[in-house]
């Protein structure tokens, strides 16, 4: 599942509609379908960190995106960016090809109305610092659209619509290209451990053996003898796995 953290409903609204997300009855404003879970954090790094932590603590999320608007003194309004550096010290790992330009971002506690900055926002650092407690840096993504050239304003729905809509398809493609971790089916270990009442340590040894077989594409032995004494049963099982 992919998580999305937006500061404002206005930033999230078009994603909610585009992906057909449904509101959940939760402590936070959360909108979900079977693939995406979106949370509204409110403004600021602390709020973003809290919402990110909540989402990652309550859902099985393998990739998380901070999506929102950002100010810039350098880029044009409407340009979209994937962030590769936050506050000169945090680095999301960009390991897949993508259709966006990349940029650094500086995260501030106040609205920035002057200076030379590629991108500025008020959430990125809090989001990233929370996310690294749960995920690796290649699973953490920040997508920002330039909304202003360091001017404080209240965006209208129409403005947000014009800003975000052209990028929705690329955002969808990006989410679809994110990898889910690979898992091996170890049901056979669970079944044997249960049937022959194996100890934790025996189960771990059996798991290693089964993994060795699976990774070598070897056919797993068919084990189905009558349960007797645990130690003997375990020895008998392990003898079936010849290395």
């Amino acid at each position: 599942m992919t998580g999305i953290v937006c500061a404002y409903f206005k930033e999230a609204k078009l994603l909610i509609e585009y992906f057909g997300l449904k509101k959940r009855n939760d402590k936070f404003s959360i909108y979900e379908n079977e693939k995406i879970s979106l949370i509204i954090s409110n403004q600021g790094r602390l709020n973003s960190a809290i919402a990110t932590t909540y989402l990652l603590s309550t859902r099985k999320i393998s990739n998380i995106i901070n999506f929102g608007i950002a100010g810039s003194s350098e880029f044009e309004i409407g340009e979209i960016f994937l962030v590769n550096k936050i506050n000169n010290k945090f680095f999301p790992d960009i390991l897949i090809s993508h259709p966006f330009r990349e940029s650094e971002i500086i995260c501030f506690d106040e609205v920035v109305e002057s200076g030379n900055y590629k991108l500025v926002d008020m959430e990125s650092e809090g989001f990233f610092k929370a996310a690294i407690k749960f995920l690796k840096s290649h699973q953490i993504h920040l997508i920002k659209i330039v909304s202003d050239n360091l001017v404080c304003f209240r965006p209208s729905d129409e403005f947000m619509n014009n800003l975000i809509t052209p990028h929705l398809k690329n955002i969808e493609n990006y989410i679809n290209s994110l990898k889910e971790p690979k898992h091996f089916d170890l049901k056979v270990v669970e079944d044997l451990a249960k049937k022959y009442d194996l100890s934790f340590s025996q189960k771990e040894q059996l798991k290693n053996r089964v993994m060795y077989y699976l990774l070598n594409n070897l056919e797993l032995p068919d084990i189905d003898f009558k349960k007797s004494e645990r130690k003997n049963d375990f020895r008998r099982i392990m003898n079936e796995f010849k290395i």
Binding site: N84, K85, N88, K89, F91, D93, I94, L95, I96, S97, E102, E104, I132, L135, K136, S137, H138, K182, F184, Q205, N208, R209, M211, Y212, L215, N216, I243
Partner: protein
């Protein structure tokens, strides 16, 4: 799509270095990201060594002292005054058995560009001892990226006319740029094709490596051949017998300086770290663990078998 070096992180203090500028011109489409210190990018715990191997980034940085390290007793047997240095951290190859996976938090390639600082330190130690054996591919395969960075050649030029033996341990085949120099020791790591295919991702095939060995022999070098680690693949006796016979059918052992060999072994802490990240059957084999080292229970038998296949030249068991 190969995304290797699509991102290049450069320490601000070396950004204007002429060598750095030369490197950057080779990667025109790359994102160049300025950093304060390479450790800011390389050290954080929240990276995935494994995931980064799919799209390694390059980090250009300045190394601070120490610039050279003494080697363990085990390696000193090979040569007196053995030292190693780390002009680069990590490797573009992806060998399942490599200890670097358990040693570093990141698999991004760090290239130190302050060659003169390394040379000053080596010069000091060398002047004191009178001779040295120096490995520059201890934490990397430096020849694997020779066409991009030319680091081995820079070092080869530095040791010219000095009593410093420079060891280039490698699986790579980029040897064309080297003219005969008596103090360069090419040490080629060789494995059976089945091991290369399964466990040595991105490395050249066995036949290409043999060809590279022949090339350096023709230039007058006496290379070292390294069979390390020996991996106990299914039917390993048959596999290694055919492999070693092939090697010495194609290469005259009299042209070889020595053979280094050893079975797979690893520090148990590194083993555990790697097992958590890498899905490879190497980490699911039932080994023995003695004194914090993971190794084959029948290591002695394997070694004895391998020794029975080796020609009668200088050998080092590791």
């Amino acid at each position: 799509m190969n995304l290797r070096f699509s991102h290049i992180y450069v320490e601000k203090r070396v950004l204007n270095d002429s060598y750095v500028q030369k490197i950057l011109t080779k990667f025109k489409g790359a994102e160049i990201i300025e950093i304060n210190h390479y450790k800011d990018r390389f050290n954080p715990y929240y990276q995935s060594f494994r995931a980064q191997k799919q799209a390694q980034s390059l980090i250009l940085a300045k190394k601070e002292a120490p610039f050279i390290y003494g080697a363990s007793e085990l390696i000193q047997k090979q040569d007196k005054n053995f030292f190693y240095t780390t002009p680069m951290l990590n490797c573009i190859y992806d060998c399942h058995y490599c200890f670097l996976q358990g040693m570093y938090p990141s698999s991004n390639l760090v290239l130190f560009v302050n060659f003169e600082d390394f040379f000053d330190e080596v010069e000091k130690v060398y002047k004191n001892l009178g001779n040295m054996f120096l490995s520059i591919s201890y934490d990397t395969d430096i020849l694997a990226v020779e066409n991009l960075f030319g680091v081995a050649k820079i070092w080869a030029d530095f040791v010219k006319n000095k009593d410093i033996k420079l060891e280039l341990r490698t699986k790579a085949v980029n040897v064309d740029g080297f003219e005969y120099q008596k103090n360069i020791v090419f040490a080629f790591s060789l494995s059976p094709e089945i091991v290369i295919e399964k466990y040595e991702k991105y490395t050249p095939k066995l036949d290409s490596r043999i060809k590279a060995i022949k090339k350096v022999i023709n230039k007058g070098f006496r290379p070292v051949i390294v069979f390390d680690p020996i991996i106990k693949v299914p039917n390993y006796k048959k596999v290694y017998e055919e492999f070693i016979k092939k090697i010495f059918r194609e290469i005259d052992y009299k042209d070889i300086e020595s053979i280094v060999y050893g079975t797979f072994r690893m520090n148990s802490t590194q083993f555990k770290i790697i097992k958590k990240q890498l899905l490879s059957d190497i980490y699911y084999y039932p080994y023995s663990v003695k004194n914090g080292i993971v190794e084959y229970k029948d290591k002695e038998e394997i070694i004895k078998f391998i020794e029975s296949l080796l020609p009668n030249i200088k050998k080092f068991k590791v």
